[in-house]
Symmetry: none
Subunit: 160 residues, 2 copies
DNA sequence: CACTCTATATATAAACC
DNA sequence: TGGTTTATATATAGAGT
């Protein structure tokens, strides 16, 4: 919308990315407000800019100062209920450091797995060398083969 | 937008409220996707229709992790860290609950990613149906193709 | 950055299937 | 619910301040 058409990909120029973010953020927050008001829907939205700032909207948060997130927690709670995520808890006594380090550990594993998943999808492979690429391809082939044979056996099972 | 101008208040006619909801929901989900993609932002959105159905968007959910809300929990966790706690009485000290819930959310993401990684390797696929298997195979093929072309271009680069 | 100004691109209301 | 069409309302890209 506007003078030029935009490609649907990350805007490389940092300045215009920032400007576009600011404009579109306002636009979408307004849309969220309108949707909730017009259609009597419960809407929650959380936005982190690439620089790390957070913006939010939640239904029935005060319109003028809608940065307090009063209802956010309730909507999130409702979401968890619907989607079915149950939390059990134990481990009462721990130090701050132990919590932090566990979180760091988990985050690290997540980063590694994300990279691996991307590689499996053929993304972010520009940094990989020939050797790694070959290994990855081999692994993908193994996956394809296993799936093929699984499909075949499924067909037989289904047909019977 | 459209033939008539709309008042900013709850649409009383139930049918048109429903129709408007459906259209605007699609619109805003698209906007959320564009915002995250164009501006490299992390975006999470939860929408409950007045009839109680839930719809959602979370950055990257539809890419590698096209599973319902794999990233949602992590965005919520990040939100809770950076904002949610500012509005409670404990501004500076995180509660035990907040540590635990963040860890649980990270752990959950890890579980999902582990399962997905195994599938990519053709493991643990005995529970998958034909449809899922086909989809997985397609994704693996995309990966293989991308790697092939990358290998080819690498050879040229290396040769030069 | 926040805001202004326009030309254009999009979203969508209304009506009908 | 989903699509289609069309006229109109909005959003916003690009450029400037």
């Amino acid at each position: 919308m506007g003078r030029g058409k935009v490609e649907l990909k990350r805007i490389e120029n940092q300045t215009s990315r920032q400007v576009t973010f600011s404009k579109r953020k306002n636009g979408i927050l307004k849309k969220a407000y309108e949707l909730s008001l017009l259609c009597d829907a419960e809407v929650a939205m959380i936005i982190f800019s690439s620089s790390g700032k957070v913006y939010q909207f939640a239904t029935d948060d005060d319109l003028v100062f809608h940065f307090n997130g009063c209802r956010m927690d309730r909507i999130i709670a409702r979401y968890r209920n619907e989607v079915g995520l149950l939390h059990s808890n134990h481990k009462r006594f721990r130090t701050l450091e132990s919590w932090k380090s566990e979180i760091e550990e988990l985050q690290k594993s997540i980063d590694i797995m994300e990279a691996r998943l991307r590689h499996f999808c053929g993304e972010d492979i520009s940094t990989m060398g020939i050797k790694e690429l070959k290994q990855l391809e081999r692994q993908l082939r193994v996956g394809v083969d296993r799936i093929r044979s699984k499909k075949v056996s499924n067909l037989y099972t289904t047909a019977a």
